[in-house]
């Protein structure tokens, strides 16, 4: 007890966010505030077809009559949606055709973030789409992917080049009016990634998008749409960072996944938006709607998330298990420190027969943070032989933080077998002493024990990401715990 307390105190002061720098780059912004004109401005900037503008305007009209949700266990001052920018793009002539045309400053930024964009430097087998503030700046390995028939491009490009696909799927998983933040996103999203894996194709490399908020007072609203046709497979990685700023910035993304028969999407996120300083000043408000639709038989969607950043995280990557025998997975590590607030979890909606799901959530609260798991497992009447296993573990570090578990389990079919377990624990003095007696310094010992606690989830990440995530676990606890 005493040892932990001391760690909490000593580390409380350090808190370094190594992605906190900002890039001086000339940008082009929409006028401040949000009106129909803003929506038109964004749509025009993107050279969008009329149908897309209409779609956005419809969303905007709906949004004006919606209220911000209050059910999550997060608290923040009222947001002034009129005092923010909804579009910001690094100024450059037309879209870059190759890396040579990209502003070197941008490339430098990604370099600093540890994301090599230059294709020759890339980790083998990872294609990257980089989104800077509101727009996608570069997508690598496009050609190689095209050979396999895979489309991986900014969604703004997809709207122009593949309108039929976009029309068919956009908003089909997360309806325009799904919730306040998703509707806002539908009106003002500026970019994001689009992925289409044709029938029978196993995507030859990991696809990856890095999101970066750079501009002040700017909201980021990206939209990701991934479609896996029959028998296809793709693994998609997403990383996020933002500069250190005193103000709160809104990030309201929407991610939609669709899997057809026998298809699989593995979606991994390492979210490290700026969390604010140790007094809770600044940081990203991360209000994100992520949902996957297992539309086809035997299809599978697996969400893995490592959430270490953001002042507030409001996020429930979910699976609609519509196709018979489909499977949903949710593996989550959510670390909160200082004054961070996390309200995250998942929904597994079992509609089809023999559908199964697995939820493993590891919440770590430190400092003065609050960390909530909120999840729903729902079995509909016609869903025969559903199986779910849920494990929610919370680890508390220090006595100023809190951990909550709010599961909803709803079964309307007697053939379902649903199991839910949750535990709450702390790092024991014995464990710390044992590690330190073997020569491991306290901070490292805490990181080691926490990594052990998260092991089941870390194992789900692709190799390169797992190593990064493991380090991140240590770093995020550094500032506040040790």
């Amino acid at each position: 007890m005493a040892a932990v307390k001391e760690t909490v105190e000593t580390v409380g002061e350090v808190e370094k966010y190594k992605y906190g720098f900002s890039t001086e780059i000339e940008s082009e912004k929409a006028p401040i505030g949000l009106t129909e004109d803003t929506v038109r401005y964004i749509s025009a900037k993107k050279n969008e077809p009329e149908w897309m503008l209409e779609w956005r305007l419809e969303a905007f009209r709906r949004w004006k009559n919606m209220e911000e949700p209050t059910w999550a266990k997060v608290f923040y001052p009222t947001m002034d949606y009129q005092n923010a920018y909804y579009y910001s793009a690094p100024k450059q002539t037309a879209g870059p055709e190759s890396l040579d045309e990209v502003d070197p400053k941008l490339l430098e930024t990604y370099e600093k973030l540890g994301i090599p964009l230059e294709e020759q430097k890339m980790l083998a087998g990872v294609a990257v789409d980089a989104v800077f503030d509101s727009v996608s700046v570069v997508t690598t390995f496009k050609e190689k992917l095209k050979e396999a028939g895979v489309i991986f491009c900014p969604i703004s490009e997809a709207i122009r080049d593949y309108p039929d696909l976009v029309k068919k799927y956009l908003g089909s998983v997360v309806p325009v009016t799904d919730n306040f933040f998703a509707t806002l996103n539908s009106a003002v999203f500026s970019d994001g990634s689009f992925v289409y894996i044709p029938k029978g194709v196993r995507c030859p490399m990991e696809l990856s998008t890095y999101f970066r908020i750079n501009e002040k007072q700017t909201g980021q609203f990206e939209r990701t749409l991934i479609i896996a046709e029959e028998g296809s497979y793709v693994s998609y990685l997403e990383g996020c960072t933002a500069p250190q700023r005193d103000e709160n910035q809104l990030h309201a993304a929407v991610v939609e996944l669709v899997t057809m028969d026998d298809a699989e999407i593995k979606y991994s996120t390492v979210q490290n938006w700026y969390p604010g300083d140790e007094n809770g000043k600044g940081g990203i408000y991360n209000f994100v709607t992520k949902r996957g639709d297992c539309r086809g038989k035997n299809s599978k969607i697996s969400w893995t998330q490592v959430e270490t950043g953001s002042a507030i995280t409001w996020k429930y990557p979910s699976c609609i298990l519509r196709g018979d025998n489909s499977r949903g997975e949710f593996y989550s590590i959510a670390i909160s420190n200082t004054k961070q607030q996390v309200d995250s979890g998942t929904k597994m909606i079992h509609l089809g027969k023999n559908t199964s799901s697995r939820i493993v959530s590891k919440g770590i609260s430190a400092g003065g943070s609050s960390n909530t798991y909120r999840g729903l497992v729902s079995v509909h009447k016609k869903a025969e032989n559903v199986r779910n296993f849920t494990q929610c573990d919370s680890l508390l570090i220090g006595d100023k933080c809190s951990a909550h578990t709010v599961p909803y389990i709803e079964a309307k079919n007697p053939t379902a077998i649903l199991e839910h377990e949750a535990t709450t624990s702390k790092i024991s003095d014995e464990q710390l002493f044992y590690c330190m007696q073997r020569g491991v310094p306290e901070e490292e010992a805490v990181a080691l024990i926490v990594n052990g606690f998260c092991r089941d989830v870390l194992q789900q990440l692709p190799m390169e990401f797992a190593v990064e995530a493991q380090k991140l676990v240590g770093i995020s606890l550094e500032g506040s715990v040790g």
């Binding site: 464990q431 002493f433 044992y434 020569g439 491991v440 080691l448 052990g452």
Partner: protein
């Protein structure tokens, strides 16, 4: 190697050790015997620097340094190793990962180069074999679900990899059957050297048949009440601790 002078230790305001004097030279093996509650485990914890054990008087000098001024991990890096009576479970951290983290942390603290994965693996395999520690066991989370014997063997494996200068074995024989005891003792004996000292804490004489001490001390009610050669242990086995003020005979 180790010099303890007039050591008084309180736990939660209650005095447990009431003036211990003990000197262990390089290469020596000392045994501390005593009834339950005599302060044996307290001594092992205070030597390794556990919190909550308050030294009110006296000193501990280790290799010429004031050990009391050093933190737990500093002492470990300086070569003090405690084999726990009840090794702690660390879920999710494999034995292998733990060993590597510990060894490299100590090497780093001593300004030595960290071992890479290949060299480390070779080292572990070499040390694990005589202790009957399988690869499978090394992949399991540390001490989680280990049997009593496995836990003790894992402790000795850690000791042989970390190569301490002063090894404190706290009731290492508890919970072991005779075969396991032999394996563990052989592991310990293999580490005996003219530079390495050991402090063997035990309730029973049995262990000392296998790890033969140079000196035996009897600890009772927080004091060393008798010191002798290895024969003292045999004597205790016969007569019990009654004459040293314990309620129960061993």
């Amino acid at each position: 190697m180790l010099e303890i002078k007039n050591l008084h230790v309180e736990v939660g305001g209650k005095e447990i050790l009431k003036g211990i004097d003990l000197q262990i030279g390089a290469g020596e093996v000392h045994a501390i015997m005593g009834p339950n509650g005599s302060g044996k485990s307290t001594l092992s914890y205070v030597l390794s620097g556990r919190e909550g054990y308050e030294v009110t008087q006296g000193s501990i000098t280790y290799k010429g340094q004031d050990a009391l001024a050093m933190s737990v991990d500093e002492r470990a890096a300086a070569g003090i190793f405690l084999a726990f009576q009840y090794p702690i479970e660390i879920p999710g951290v494999t034995t292998m990962t733990f060993l590597k983290t510990a060894l490299n942390a100590q090497r780093k603290a001593r300004g030595e180069e960290e071992l890479d994965a290949v060299k480390f693996l070779k080292l572990v395999r070499e040390k694990a074999k005589p202790l009957n520690v399988s690869d499978e066991m090394l992949k399991r989370p540390l001490n989680v679900g280990f049997s009593g014997g496995e836990k003790k063997r894992a402790e000795i494996l850690q000791m042989s990899i970390l190569e301490p200068w002063l090894a404190i074995l706290d009731e290492t024989d508890s919970g072991l059957d005779i075969d396991a005891l032999k394996v563990v003792s052989e592991g310990v004996n293999a580490l005996r050297s003219p530079e390495r000292s050991m402090l063997v804490i035990t309730h029973y004489q049995r262990l000392l048949d296998y790890i033969v001490p140079d000196k035996v001390h009897v600890l009772s009610r927080g004091r060393i009440v008798k010191t002798g050669g290895k024969d003292l242990a045999l004597e205790l086995e016969k007569s019990g601790y009654a004459e040293y003020g314990a309620d129960e005979a061993a």
